[in-house]
Amino acid sequence: MSTPAFAAALVPALVWIPLSLGALSFVLGRAASPWLVLPGLLATAGVVPALLPLAAPGGIAAYHLGGWMPPLGIAWRLDGLSAIMLAITAIVSAGVGIFASSMMNRMDRQSEWFWPLLLLLIAGLNALFLTRDLFNAYVTLEIVSLAAVALVTITGTSAPIVAGMRYLLAALAGSLSYLLAVALLYARYGTLDFDLLATVMQDDPIGMLALALATAGLFIKSALFPLHVWLPPAHGSAPAPVSAMLSALVVKAGFYLLLRLWFEVFAALDSLAAARVLIGLCGAGAVVWGSMLALCQQRLKPLLAYSTVAQLGYLLLLFPLAEVVSAWQGTLILVCAHGTAKAAMFLAAGIILRAYGHDRIIAIGGAARGVPLTTFALGLAGVSLIGLPPSGGFAAKWLLLVAAFESGRWWWSFVPLGGGLLAAGYVFIILARAFEAPSADTGDFAQVPRVAELAALALALVSFMLGFAGNAVAIGLDSAIAEMTRS
């Protein structure tokens, strides 16, 4: 396909393409947007497969911004973990882009702002997944947060604006906390490069304080329990494609950075065990709390939002189980499976909202007949969310369970097991209604573009088929994990 050198040169393209296209679409305005943006989006997505071989063991591609080496310059690097995050970003954003282009009325206000913001968000995410520098990570994280907040409020109606403002304030608190941590580390060690920091890191109070501050900040950014409260209103009221992006990708960004911090920068320290258990407990709490509240929701989108809170909890189980390889595999498959599944479900919710004019769960009877493809997508994604085989969600859960048993800390297995039950509860609350005979009062039924339905279905299918991608993820992760499980 290409020489490694050429491929390595493509790495920054992941950021430059969306960034420049975003700027361009902002300039060109609403008329050209989808037709310009969509190919660009797909092109960005197309770059990822070309890069994947680089992430294979031994093929780590580094890129130094402006040619400056750390500690002076900023390094970007593509390893297995990054590659997986980039791949899932590409897939979800492609799906969301196709969906949005078919669903949005090109002439309304949403459209004018949507595309530039979306591209900015993607650029920020891609940069975040590549960077090896703590401050650079802060910057990208801010880009992502700000773009996300703007996207939430894009419709200009009151509920999203209130939710968006809360999101903004919470995110700012998180950012500042993280920034403080960065400052502390820089003052103590004089460098912010991941690898350099990892080698010089000492087991002292300053470092610990920095880690605690950064973790708490990233907890807010990722809406990790108990700092999740901004998420449900924001994700529940934003337009469907925005919710999809936020739930699938944005919240994972903070989590990704947590991984880098705990398992690379601070990996060498021995005193993290108790804190890891604490984080694991937060994860367990998230699963229970989020699922229970999801069960209480009466509308589809808030339900999905709380489901995100719950699913993020699984990710935190990695912390107490990190020395087992399968925990890593499981967690990353879950990142992908949940990302695609949740994006598909939010898109499906958008379709149902469009078709029925509301998303009250109790009154979506007969959706299986009205929008069959969408219902199918909901079902497939739901199966993955519950973790029923052979979906991606199952593969993830299986690996987490294996990790729990192999590490001897079998009690962590209760979290995925019980969480699956609760997830089944809220997923089938939706599906049961969908299979009902249509009620009499579902009179006005609007047609939905077939492409939008297919986009949701495609994402759901990806999530479902991810169960068979376990080996690929495992291979991709080998190099990264080998480094990270040393601790």
């Binding site: 199918f376 519950i386 085989p389 690996l399 079998w410 699956g420 005979a437």
Partner: protein
Amino acid sequence: MSNDALPPLLILLSSLLPGLIIFFLPEKSVRLRTALNLCGALFKVAVVIVVLQGVYAGLEYSASVPFLPGNDLVLRIDSLALLFVTLSAGLWLVMTVYAVSYLEDSPNRSRFFGFYSLCVSATVGIAMAGDLLTLFVFYELLTIATYPLVVHNGTPEARRAGTVYLAFTIGGGVLLLAGTVWVQTLAVSTNFLEVAGVLEGLGQEHETALRLIFALMVGGFGVKAAVVPLHQWLPRAMVAPAPVSALLHAVAVVKAGAFGIIRVVYDVYGVELSHALGLSDALAVLATATILYGSFQALRQDDLKLRLAYSTVSQVSYILLGIALYSPLASIGGLSHLVHQGLMKITLFLCAGNLGQTLGIHKVSEMNGAGARMPWTMAAFSVAALGMIGLPPFAGFISKWYLGSGAVQSGAGWALVVLLISSLLNAAYFLPILSRVWFRKQTGPWPEEKSFGRFETKAGLLFPPVTTAIATVAVGLFAGTPVSPLSWIRDVVAVEYRL
């Protein structure tokens, strides 16, 4: 991919692919849908016949699909698997013919047949699963594929039934998942054929773990096998259309549960180990309680399908009892009941469906004199009911004979008593039906009579139950021949007991 890998995949795909295609067919393309269904079913039967000959000649078939890191999906056909595969393939063919006629002119048929085919695919998958993970995967797939069938009618009642079904099956799935993972970490390999009993050879220190795992797995499979008190979804699921009931009771769901327990006892633990740990005794007690409870409940039902449902609860535990008694004869009985109960119960449900479709009869008390109006349907029903009671020469007798012999052989006289009491109870709830049907006068006009030309009902509704009834007679009458299920099962058991 070698030739040996092809048959298992073909068996799986012969229903999976038509199912997936059917989902996307428009509601109106009845012919194409029916053709797809029938071709799939016929093709599956054909492949099964080829495989039967192959296995008989000593060939081994296995295929594996890459799945999780370190755990492929393994499909393999051993003789136990083939038994279940043959049963489901054969019955699927019959059921397809029936379902096509039954659902003529009803809404959502594409969805129905899509899931119907998925359901069968999951079942053969369970049968052919070569290790625990694969078994679990298909077991859960079955849960998903069945749910839409249970709620197919779309009524609030159906939705509630579906919810109960899910609550039980998903809960069971979680238990099973925990057990499966645990086994995975203890055992060297969970491949059923590589090691006779996956957990055999573990030392004393694992005894508690082994007991807990057994409880988890029996809990998980027991939900589908409708073991008391996990049976409660089954009677409620009777709101589904008759072909679904037949599928639940005879071909797929409860059988999958029972088959899972068979795998646990034989291939995960091995007969010796489960006996030594006293696990099979616990299972026997559970099965006994279920047998009696189901029969007593069946006595109280006036609704025909409910009566049949509780009968299933009771009868499926015959299989478990046979497995649990430490005796080759009992095992033969239990395994043969897997086949025999399937044949008989499917007949009963199809006949019940015929009564509903043709005469509008849903209750036992409405059946007076139905034998004169629908002699063939009721003859098939009678054959199956008598078989259920365990009268010769029908299939049920063969199972009961072996179960009883096994009970005596293992010194479990109480099991024999339970069997016989249960037979009496079976008689007490089946024979009054037969008496009403054949020997009582019709008491009034039928609730909702329809007339279908030449036969007593639609031909597509009539022939399937008659076929299975004939099969019920044949497998009992010719049980001694080398081609009978019984002979096959004898070989299976000889392997499991290392005779």
